[in-house]
Amino acid sequence: MSLSTKNILGAKDLNKQDIQQILDTAESFKEISTRSIKKVPTLRGKTIINLFFEPSTRTRTSFEIAGKRLSADVINISGSTSSTAKGENLIDTARNLEAMNPDILVVRHNCSGASALLTQFIKCPIINAGDGAHEHPSQALLDLLTIRSHKGDLQGLKVAIVGDIRHSRVARSNIKAMQTMGMQVRVVGPPPLIPVELERLGVEVSSDLSKSIKDVDVIMVLRIQHERQNQMFLSSLREYSNYFCLTAEILAQARKDVLIVHPGPVNRGIEISLDVMEGPHSLILNQVTNGVAIRMALFYLLLGENNANPN
């Protein structure tokens, strides 16, 4: 029992069996977080380094708690992207960390491909906790876990991902992972926020929110970044909200059992209305809980791999 990949760089590297195994393992880990002593000794003596070049509370904390619940030593390092023009910073930091013999490196960076670059310098497994607009695989996995625990099976489910697809690593990871699991993905957003040739990935593209959520099992709402409106992608957040905010009125046209997920943090009233966010369809807090279980599963499955020793 082991994953087909040494690093978790993206959902694109995970096959169906890998994803199933990660979700199953995470399912078993959920129980630990409900105990009064929320810790098992599994990764005692292991060192996990969270190397974050971008500010993040949610994801970093989730990885940190996951590591600690497995008894690993978790160290948080904030990398700076501002220094040096040539970006030796990342490589230098990586080389330094390698010398400290970590067992897992969790990396977040604002450049797409940064974690792939690090694999050239780091021997231990790397988990990509978000690289630019490329991938954020653990987020997609926790989304799938959340959806699966409500729907039972992922195969054949229809999903609408709404918002800024262009700049979203969450969307990219989810598209890949969902397609691997046999789900149908539709993306919804204003055309400037849809990257070119996306349809070639087998994704349906729409800019009509009400129409495109009618027949789906899951609506994933993405965070819209305020700074986009100054970059020619958006006229204004107000107008964006007019067309793409998931309100109770629009939701009324969806299926009664539709699920709503959001990778957070939420801009209330811009991409989703408060009543919908806190309503019965919303799984936003389940996602946070499941995030810890997914990251525990990733740590567990990545450590000590490739070293089969029967009995």
Binding site: K12, K86, G87, E88, L90, I91, H109, C111, S112, G113, A114, A116, L117, Q120, D131, G132, A133, H134, E135, R169, R172, P195, V196, E197, L198, R200, L201
Partner: protein, 431 residues
């Protein structure tokens, strides 16, 4: 000492010569070109001989688009190392782009380059002067002074002339000096922050794309200006199929436009970026299969005039970084021949045409008395074995930099000897 190159297949497009000839070189010039075995008698006493059996003997290659980084970025390349790279690739003449530091936008920098070349280079170095002062795209450089100092063309390469008014005046003014304006065609407002072709791969990788329209629009703009301005427009490193078509139409109208293509733009597609390989990060970016097909069509029908490498050496520190932060470019000189010969294998062009694109055509475009091995001409010659197979090993490049996406490629076509003015400047296995 006189040298006889014998038993080779001589391809000299300038003189429409292709066949078994022997070439006698004396005093740096071509003394005789005669059918195989016909140079004999007293002439042959005490001379050096090069047996070119099974090989092609042609004028030394001429690359009208290289970056030798000197002055300013000698850690990437110098005129000396760049020249060594050129001669290893069969090139005897190169035109160096002005985006050095300081920029080659005045006589003193041009003279510095030429003086460095005399001291350290065994090949012919021809400077290209800037179109605008400091490459800033604001005011015209002193084009007359640059020509007098030895520049053979004008370009802001590395960046385009964005300002249409300035480009218009550059085309007009350069007419006075009868030198081409070489444009790096890229609408910067469309490519801001971009690092690869915009398309399915950039979408998947989450990288900012550089749309093909950024190239097409500027080529269209420049061609539009040309009808009124006159002058000569040379489109550098054409990478877009659409731009090839625009040049074709302009030529049909009789406009004074020419263009070049770099080997990577007819060899690699955007797929090469998939693993975030920064050695495949180029400007203009590697495009699609369809673009390659249209470029090949352009080579076949003569729309594309010459092959130029856009040799852009970069240190490891500039390439071994996040993809979006890496420098654009490739070490081009040492892989140009085998990549061009692939076009011959694919029957896109003939071997003779391939040699023409690398020799006679660039010299014709830039009014150079080179790329011609007729009797009396300076003996700049390359001898290559078009069949010999080998593996591309960037670590063995003569260039100071090793940035090449072709590492490990099995290719055919090896440079055996490069001669400048009759003197061997490169000899395989004898380096």
């Amino acid at each position: 000492m006189p040298t006889l190159i014998k038993n080779g297949r001589v391809i000299d497009p300038a003189n429409k010569l292709d066949g078994s000839f022997d070439i006698l070189i004396n005093d740096g010039r071509i003394e005789a070109v005669e059918p195989k075995g016909k140079i004999s008698g007293s002439k042959l006493k005490g001379i050096a001989e090069i047996d070119a059996k099974g090989c092609v003997v042609s004028p030394g290659f001429c690359d009208m688009h290289v970056h030798f980084r000197e002055p300013g970025h000698e850690y990437k390349e110098t005129i000396e190392t760049g020249s060594a790279s050129a001669s290893a690739g069969g090139f005897t003449t190169v035109a160096v782009m002005p985006n050095t530091s300081p920029v080659n936008d005045n006589r003193s920098v041009t003279e510095l380059i030429l003086s460095q070349a005399r001291k350290t280079s065994a090949i012919n170095i021809l400077p290209i002067g800037a179109i605008s002062k400091g490459l800033k795209g604001e005011t015209l450089s002193d084009m007359g002074e640059l020509k007098e100092a030895g520049c053979i063309g004008y370009s802001d390469d590395g960046r385009p002339v964005m300002d249409s008014e300035l480009m218009r005046r550059a085309l007009e003014y350069s007419r006075m000096f009868d030198l081409p304006c070489i444009q790096h065609s890229e609408m910067l407002d469309l490519t801001l922050g971009g690092c690869m072709n915009e398309g399915i791969i950039s979408t998947e990788l989450g990288l900012k794309g550089m749309p093909v329209e950024a190239e097409d629009i500027m080529v269209f703009r420049d061609i539009s200006l040309l009808a009124k301005t006159g002058g000569r427009l040379h489109v550098a490193h054409i990478s877009s199929g659409g731009a090839v078509d625009l040049v074709r139409q302009a030529k049909a109208k009789g406009l004074p436009v020419t263009c070049e293509v770099a080997p990577h733009h007819f060899t690699l597609t955007e797929e090469a970026c998939r693993e975030y390989d920064t050695n495949s990060k180029m400007s203009p970016p590697l495009r699609t299969h369809q673009d390659i097909e249209l470029i090949k069509e352009g080579l076949r029908d003569g729309t594309i005039d010459i092959i130029a490498t856009d040799h852009a050496p970069h240190d490891l520190a500039d390439k071994q970084v996040e993809f979006s932060k890496a420098c654009f470019g490739i070490v081009g000189l040492e892989t140009a021949l085998p990549l061009t010969l692939k076009l011959v294998d694919e029957k896109i062009i003939t071997l003779e045409k391939a040699v023409d694109l690398l020799t006679h055509q660039p010299c014709r475009l830039f009014n150079l008395d080179k790329g011609d091995i007729g009797v009396g001409k300076i003996a700049d010659i390359v001898i290559f074995d078009p069949q010999s197979k080998y593996c591309i090993e960037p670590e063995k490049f003569k260039s100071r930099s090793k940035n090449s996406p072709y590492k490990g490629w099995q290719v055919r076509g090896q440079i055996l000897h490069t001669l400048v003015a009759g003197k061997t400047v490169y000899s395989v296995g004898n380096e």
